[in-house]
Symmetry: C2
């Protein structure tokens, strides 16, 4: 059977398809998967028409297709499935057009985010979507996962930065909606379905991204608050004083801040004393103005009692030092064994209570646990990274997920704020989405991919969950992508 399929693929797709042992390692696993899976073939189209031809063929053959971008996803979404093919967009890397008046860039899906950012910068424009894996991740994957990243509080998720999409459906239909207009209410906005559906409804082949003016200057401040109530007071004041100039509001609990500062000698504590919670704020604006706004904010917030101590860096070097702690997440490998990372959303006002509860619960179950809490709290996004040293290579991954996701559900949060569902969180999706929501998702999946060949088993369980297509990758929390969990 597989031999027959190979013959057909080879005859119809020629050099677009590579088979068996010839398939390079990078198409066999994504960052978080322990075990490589060898698909029947990897197909690497050069054009949208190639993608269409490949999907039409796979649809006819009834074999599953896993779309692949830069393989930097954290939930197993691009992990190939045995008996199916992988469809990599990595040959479609063109940056087709930068329209300076519309402030848009039109790209092929396989272009890396970093390449697109740099091209826009050269044209004097700014692509606001940004994440640690910028030089590996591809625009198609960024769109399919509705990636979040560093600037959501100001510029929104990827969704808010996509104006147009071209995609190919599972039957090979090419749907081209390369809209550049900020306002277009002519019929259903089909791109919204493709964004964030993790390659289960269609394969994004091209996109129009919205650009902004280059921010003129940035200024950061670092604050120590006695407790989370102070953080909330500071957040409200920062929103109202800075408005759209507020570009980051990052919170670090001592569980994270002290652990990283104690463990990594190159990090420097920017405040003299110890505090209940730490906040890193960034503002942008015309030169001078951002710094002045931050100074005014800090003065008022110390008076209001929300901040115990604060520092405004006096040099580029001091700014880098402030951010170095927050960005030290890429050093987990040096400090901890295998870890389980959570990327959850918690209603902002409850994040303090949630962290206190979950850190205590984890310590009750696993007395030697390291549980590090930090995140984009301005966006309600909490990262929690857990390692149980005594468990060694056998981290209690499932038990940790059960405990954390139960609490997330109880707090009205989400099990994934930005990384997505993939296979890794699929069996927990019912904790944050209702049966009727799941049923509508399944209806949409059937409408756009009636044979169920597109990225089967990702996000939603396949209708017949015992098929070989539903094999989920074995997950190893030990591997971390180049940037670490954001």
């Amino acid at each position: 059977m597989e031999d027959e399929i190979r013959t057909v693929l080879s005859e119809e797709l020629g050099d677009l398809a590579t088979f068996g042992a010839e398939i390079p390692e990078r198409y066999r696993r994504d960052w978080l998967s322990e075990q490589a899976v060898t698909p029947i073939a990897v197909i690497r189209p050069r054009t949208t028409e190639d993608v269409s031809r490949a999907l039409r063929l796979c649809s006819r053959l009834g074999i599953s297709v896993v779309p692949q971008g830069g393989m930097t996803g954290l939930v197993g979404g691009a992990q190939p499935v045995a008996g199916g093919v992988a469809l990599s967009l990595d040959r479609m890397t063109a940056i087709e057009e930068i329209d300076e008046v519309m402030a848009t860039v039109t790209v092929e899906a396989g272009a890396t985010l970093g390449d697109v950012q740099r091209a826009c910068e050269q044209a004097g424009l700014f692509l606001a979507v940004d994440l640690g894996a910028r030089d590996s991740c591809q625009v198609g994957g960024v769109i399919s996962t509705n990636a979040g990243g560093n600037r959501v509080i100001r510029y929104g998720m990827t969704r808010e930065n996509v104006l147009g999409i071209e995609a190919v459906l599972s039957d090979g239909t090419i749907v081209t909606s390369l809209n550049k207009l900020l306002k277009n209410n002519a019929g259903y906005d089909l791109k919204q379905l493709l964004i964030g559906s993790e390659g289960t409804l269609g394969v994004v082949t091209r996109a129009v991204l919205r650009l902004h003016a280059q921010p003129q200057s940035f200024c950061s401040a670092f604050c120590g608050c006695a407790d989370f109530a102070g953080v909330i007071g500071l957040l409200k004041a920062a929103r109202s004083t800075l408005g759209a100039a507020l570009t980051s509001f990052e919170v670090m609990w001592p569980s994270f801040y002290d652990f990283m500062c104690d463990g990594l000698p190159e990090l420097r504590r920017s405040l003299a004393g110890r505090h209940g919670v730490y906040v890193l704020i960034e503002a942008s604006g015309p030169a001078g103005q951002a710094r002045q706004s931050l100074e005014d904010l800090l003065a008022a917030e110390i008076d209001a009692g929300h901040i115990a101590d604060a520092v405004l860096p006096k040099s580029e070097r001091e700014t880098t030092e402030l951010w170095a702690v927050r960005e030290s997440v890429s050093e987990y490998g040096r400090l901890m064994g295998p870890l389980t990372g959570f990327d959850i959303g918690i209603p902002t006002g409850e994040a303090g209570a949630f962290v206190a509860e979950i850190e205590a619960a984890l310590a009750r179950h696993w007395p030697d646990v390291h549980a590090l809490s930090y995140g984009h709290i301005g966006d309600s996004n909490l990262h929690l990274v857990v390692n149980v040293p005594s468990a060694g290579a056998h981290q209690p991954h499932d038990a940790l997920c059960d405990l954390v996701f139960e609490a997330v559900s109880r707090y009205g949060g989400t099990i994934s704020a930005e990384h997505g569902i993939g296979t890794i969180k699929r069996d927990y999706l019912h904790l944050t989405r209702s049966p009727s929501e799941l049923e509508v998702m399944a209806r949409l999946k059937r409408a756009l991919d009636p044979r169920g060949i597109l990225n089967p088993g990702k996000v939603l369980a396949p209708p017949h969950s015992a098929t070989s297509q539903a094999v989920s990758p074995t997950v190893s929390p030990s591997a971390t992508p180049p940037s670490g969990p954001a």
Copy 2:
């Protein structure tokens, strides 16, 4: 048959349903429809469960359901259909919760936009979605049409301001996704399908809207440019100098500006000479800062040759005078006979060429034509209002649409930037959406409304377009909603 349906509706829905001559006029037509249509019944639910019960029943009976909000739509989307029922949300007006930390408001769909805006303002927060019909239009309608309005350049369309939705599908299934989190990537984002689908895929019953900090102060400036190249130069500079502080960039061609100033004695020309194009800019920011930024911008742009003359108002009264011309669109009734209004999107850089071409073409066909061009050009949204005096009550509506939409299609624009499709633009939708896009829309419609009972004939032609459910309202371009075309 209708009698039997009445009996069943009356028995099962009790006082939620009103029949025949008892149905008040306001449920029989929306703003732009000449002819009232009396549906079998108007159903006015008090709760989401009522909506579910009504839809389940109509689905069983196979009768069509037209969701209704404030009836201020401009494309016939809420016009009842003969033989069906109207479902008005006007009893579900609760403003359920304002969450100051999350910066969200949770409302029922029948609340008017104005009531929600005022409630948020009292809580010290800001609902950015705003349009002229604010005190009549309802949140459900605003969401279903993805309304644009006055502040899109800074805060986005309605879509960008909706975090959660509760909706009822045609079979009565209640889908509750009242998410408050800015970041939530747990499965498909179902609300995106409901937003802007004009009540054809589900009935929105509740929503969570995103709020912002109150803008601190506003400052406007009015500029005369020699030509459209100057306008584009000014737009680029305004984006880069003001960034997120740029809240409006409104353009008025002489066809609009001179016609209104000459016709309405209460309007004052703020600049001494006549210019090729006029631009009204608004900036927001901390007090003093917005005005300073605008002053700097104008000085630089006069030097750059993009602006011929400009004025910064020195008082509240002068600011009101500047905006009075732009807002005089509500006075069309005093100046013109019946009109045909267009709400189109044109790639920004091409808007000047488009206006020149279309005004000339209209004058060639109808030598006495009034064709007024103006719009939210910062958002690529052009309004064009046409009256042919010699045609009297029989305006060449179809011929005007043919001529304008052909040009829109040729320029790569959209036939609707913000008002939507409804019935009025349905037969032109193929000019801006491809056959494969239309086919996918039809697939989604079948998936969520397999019996085709929800708002039939709106946006998409019904599968069997000869049924009585597909009757489009007779359109009279003479009626204008309270606010006029935005």
